[in-house]
Symmetry: C2
Subunit: 313 residues, 2 copies
């Protein structure tokens, strides 16, 4: 079954690369890195594990050239979501599984609305993936995936897709409750991606070492935990401490939102902070810190957007 | 009684200028604007009231040249506080009244510790004062002062200083509880100065018009109100709404902290957010939003400090 990868940044290149190495037929939509990847292939530097070089790479600049696929991994940022309306149709055949690999909430819902005839999975990435150069991706920690079916669709295919990841060397667990799993991931993204940007550009160790920033991050985590509790998803007692300890292993990692922000690109404000805030409000869970950081990030992103319009790159 | 003004930015120039116009002998410590003010005098543009030009101005570059004073108005930013150890002694004679006109908490305490033999007053400025050019100050709204005695010292002189301000056309009210009055002012500075910087450079109208930023600002105000309540300083029912309405009258005003931040100068993180946070914690009042914005501003200020060291202006 042919696999298409849309959005070959760090996430798409890493997982697509691993699947291709394991023998799957993988075709990539490439844009800014097309020339580099076609010429020199993909280099995956998997910290702690072996590194490898994928060459040649089936990379195309337009989805029309890629042909239809059985599985499409969507690793485009949530902010570029609207582009999928035109990008996806050439890849679709009856039954094509769409796997939303973005951060935050609302991605599966959007796909289900626009492509109602396709089964949709959500893939939650626990990897510290960095695009170090065109065609070069580094995994500086973790890398597992949690995979869940959206609204019950694709249950049947869920295990098959998970197996493919597993065979490619990606630890992949199947989750029953996709939204709950997304909230667990948000418990990291909401504080660390958010504080890294709002505090003026901090890596995760700088957040952990600064007692005040760490306290703010912990407060955001506790709000997410309160939402999880409301959804009857009890979390272990020492859960916040454990996430802090995991984060301490990541080195001077810059969350993807910070990388995007510093590069002047839009940040996933609505998927990571806005939509979770709205759902928490609907559930009646007070999340004043989430509201605060959402307000700040939305403003910072808009201001950065105004600068982009003034000085187009 | 000679009046010395230390820190002739917007606040020092405005009030010193008004007192001089009314006939007081006022002497100014000037640094970056010395040449402009000596040559062309001080221009005060008092919106809604008459504007005036003060010339000549008794301005000096060193306090040693100013001679001793009966009253010293301290309008230097709290961040430059340590400089007062050397700046003030030449201005002092037995009984010289020190008037701390800075924002935030801890200014009077610091003066009392370093200059224990002098009566100390606190002056709380409700003015939208802007230094538009060297020697030019604009008042874009309000302008009244609240004056209180610190720790009971100077009670005797309090009314005399207040009278001088009143005679100079400055609405000046005497307050019994100086710290309570400082908290009332903080109820504006904490949200508006803080959000204006953390949201990437917003004037007060941009904060009011953005529903999310406005909500964050209102949340910060409510935390300050909770502190006020704990101190048995009941505030009127519609107090938050009234402050929002007053702020709507200010036009596209940029709080002084934002002006400092954008100019690459240190911001008064400890006086406006750090010290209030610590006092709220001591009182046992939960202030999670204040903690969050303090953490962010402290980080933003430090990063801006690192840039200052790399590229000295």
């Amino acid at each position: 079954m042919k696999i298409g990868v849309v959005g070959a940044g760090a996430v798409g290149s890493y997982y697509g690369g691993l699947l291709a190495r394991a023998g799957s037929e993988v075709t990539f939509l490439l844009r800014r890195d097309w020339e580099a990847v076609i010429r020199r292939g993909l280099w995956i530097d998997d910290q702690g594990k072996e590194s490898f070089h994928l060459y040649p790479v089936r990379g195309f600049r337009r989805t029309e050239e890629m042909g239809s696929c059985g599985i499409v991994l969507i690793a485009l940022k949530a902010t570029a979501r609207e582009a999928l309306r035109d990008l996806l149709p050439p890849l679709l055949q009856p039954g094509t599984v769409l796997v939303a690999m973005q951060n935050g909430l609302g991605n599966e819902e959007w796909l289900a609305e626009v492509f109602p005839n396709h089964p949709i999975l959500g893939g939650i990435v626990f990897g510290c993936l960095i695009r170090t150069a065109p065609g070069r991706v580094q995994n500086v920690g973790f890398g597992k995936i949690e995979l869940g079916a959206y609204a019950g669709a694709g249950e049947f295919l869920l295990r098959e897709v998970a197996l493919r990841f597993e065979r490619a060397g990606v630890p992949c667990s199947v989750v029953e409750d996709l939204e709950a799993a997304r909230w667990r991931k948000l418990a990291w993204n909401i504080p660390f991606n958010g504080v890294s940007v709002a505090a003026g550009g901090c890596d995760v160790q700088e957040i952990l070492r600064d007692a005040e920033l760490r306290r703010f991050a912990a407060g955001l985590m506790e709000e997410v935990a309160a939402v999880a509790e409301k959804r009857e998803l009890p979390l272990p007692e020492d859960w916040t401490e454990r996430m802090m300890a995991d984060t301490a292993q990541m080195g001077a990692y810059r969350p993807s939102t910070l990388v995007d922000f510093l590069a002047g690109r839009p940040i996933e404000v609505e998927a990571i902070w806005g939509e979770p805030l709205r759902r928490a409000q609907k559930m009646g869970v007070p999340t004043p810190l989430l509201q605060a950081i959402y307000a700040l990030l939305r403003s910072l992103d808009r201001r950065s957007g105004v600068r982009r319009e003034i000085t187009p790159s």
